[in-house]
Symmetry: C2
Subunit: 81 residues, 2 copies
């Protein structure tokens, strides 16, 4: 029996080496049943404001509903802006 499965997550990154390495690892682990959206904040700068509102402070980060998992540290959101 599986409880409380997250069905949708967003992985935020900015193309940095730490981001890419984390992306590969995270994607290799995530349940195939989970829908993963990948947002490259360096290329999609219009999404930085939303990411900030969601509580993202640095990338790479994974957003699950309202919870943010900051994974290692690649770059601060301020440095992308």
């Amino acid at each position: 029996m599986v409880h409380n499965k997250a069905k949708e997550v967003t992985f935020y990154h900015a193309g940095c080496p730490v981001c890419i390495s984390a992306e590969n690892s995270v994607l290799s682990l995530i349940d195939p049943a989970v829908k993963v959206t990948i947002v490259h904040l360096g290329k999609e700068k219009e999404k930085i404001a939303d990411a900030r509102k969601a509580g993202i402070k640095s990338v790479p980060a994974l957003l699950l509903g309202q919870e943010v998992l900051h994974i290692n540290f690649g770059a601060s959101l301020d440095d992308i802006k």
Copy 2:
């Protein structure tokens, strides 16, 4: 086709609120095919040295082979010791 799937990971934590929250989220996301070992460094202090050798600097953290994903920040390994 699935490439490069991690088959085994270790989740290190120390029972802190940040750890427990991250544990719930991470476990809800991980592919059921991946074997997850959970190590509570507060209770299994003999494993702190190994964790340090593997590159763990703080908990919660996920170890995949030789790669460490530090997830948010609950406590430094030094604070557990």
